[in-house]
């Protein structure tokens, strides 16, 4: 990753050394400011940086820890009804953070996840995901991306993991696999990952 030399304009997609900025994630977490109560579902593991980032906002954070469940039970880790808020809970989800999880789901699981989120989402809910787009390999397990309190992301080095091939999902492939979600925005990040936000598709 290239970092700016002194006097050189900083690349807005590069954060502190070793970190990258994820503008769509930052915008999503900033949405609504600090006065509006909201519920955010974090499908990843709870991180100190996320807690710090949300500490001044009126947020309820639901932590599903799907990577942890996957590590414990490879065959049965995505029992979403146990991990997500109840359907039609009186506080629907304003945002969902998928991190890099979608890269590890096949088409069937992508569809199931999207449908489960739609059932729990507020009308203006946005779903955020990070997709390995440029790289041919990714870490062998999800959930290793770390977030700093300033919302910079730290991506693990492949050398520290047992890499596997990435599915390199395109926006069209994701929309096809997840009919409950519609791609709203994408952005290519400084490390070659692609950042997505989805909105919920509600058929008339």
């Amino acid at each position: 990753m290239k970092h700016p030399e002194p006097g050189e304009d900083a690349d807005p997609l590069l954060g502190a050394p070793g970190a990258i900025r994820a503008p769509l994630l930052a915008a999503l977490l900033d949405r609504g400011g600090s006065s509006r109560r909201r519920v955010i579902a974090d499908l990843g593991t709870l991180q100190p940086g996320m807690l710090d980032a949300l500490s001044q906002s009126r947020t309820r954070l639901v932590v599903a820890d799907l990577p942890g469940r996957r590590a414990e039970n490879e065959d049965d880790w995505d029992r979403l009804d146990a991990a997500l808020p109840r359907r039609h809970w009186r506080e629907p989800l304003a945002a969902v953070l998928c991190w890099d999880l979608l890269n590890y789901l096949d088409a069937g699981r992508l569809a199931a996840l999207a449908e489960a989120l739609r059932e729990r989402a507020a009308p203006d809910c946005r779903v955020h995901a990070l997709i390995h787009y440029s790289a041919l390999e990714m870490p062998g397990a999800p959930g290793q991306i770390r977030i700093d309190p300033n919302l910079d992301l730290r991506i693990p080095s492949l050398a520290d993991t047992r890499p596997i091939a990435t599915p390199r999902y395109t926006p069209k492939a994701l929309e096809k696999a997840m009919p409950a979600l519609v791609v709203e925005r994408t952005m290519l990040l400084g490390n070659g990952m692609q950042e997505f936000t989805f909105r919920v598709h509600r058929p008339n």
Binding site: Q47, A64, P85, R86
Partner: protein, 200 residues
């Protein structure tokens, strides 16, 4: 309400004092928050099933199942401690295992050795990297959930019972009975620590 007393030590200091002690009686014990200034210890071989109330700090290295109310004091769940309960306290420090809901009027500190499955509600929550958590975290002191748990009610305990009317709809549907929990399934336990509904 879990009022903070004027002469009380800074809760953050108490938290630091409580530290991650797994050595009851050690220098990291909570100090003097309760009316008696004492800290009680439930040792590793002790198991309690039922309702526990008190007015002094408590370190748990054993097992508690049921309900814990330490309205104005600090509860430390030591590294050997296991709580299967709904907990209401002024400050909660977690080094051990929790399967239930934690409600603190001031602060919850989750240490790196902690394993928590449930819901936690406090105005301030700190987390060390390495801790395991599944459930929901609510730091919104203006929330309805916070008011339900901590708002003063004349002649009544500030801690709502698991069968309270506030959650009647959830109870009726066979779902979680905690005061304000969106989750069910693995994290869903009632006040006795028994699952209210199995995972799908």
């Amino acid at each position: 309400m879990f009022n903070k007393r004027e002469n009380e030590h800074d809760p953050a200091d108490r938290g630091r004092n409580a530290g991650s002690s797994s050595t009851p009686g050690g220098p990291d014990r909570p100090t003097g928050a309760g009316s008696s200034g004492a800290t009680a210890i439930i040792g590793p071989s002790i198991s309690i099933n039922g309702e526990l109330k008190g007015q002094e700090d408590l370190i748990v290295e054993g097992t508690i199942q049921g309900t814990v109310e330490l309205k104005q004091n600090t509860l430390t769940i030591g590294s050997q401690g296991t709580i299967k309960a709904q907990v209401y306290a002024h400050t909660i420090l977690v080094d051990g295992t929790v399967d239930g809901d934690l409600y603190a009027s001031e602060r919850i500190s989750i240490r790196k050795t902690a394993r928590i499955e449930g819901n936690i509600l406090a105005p301030r929550i700190s987390l060390e990297d390495g801790a395991k958590f599944r459930g929901s975290i609510d730091m919104d002191s203006e929330s309805e959930a916070f008011r339900k748990v901590f708002q003063p009610r004349t002649g009544a305990s500030p801690a709502p019972k698991a069968t309270g009317a506030a959650d009647k709809s959830a109870s009726d549907s066979g779902e979680r009975t905690a005061p304000d929990s969106p989750l069910k399934g693995e994290a869903g336990k009632n006040a006795t620590g028994k699952p209210t509904q199995s995972a799908v």
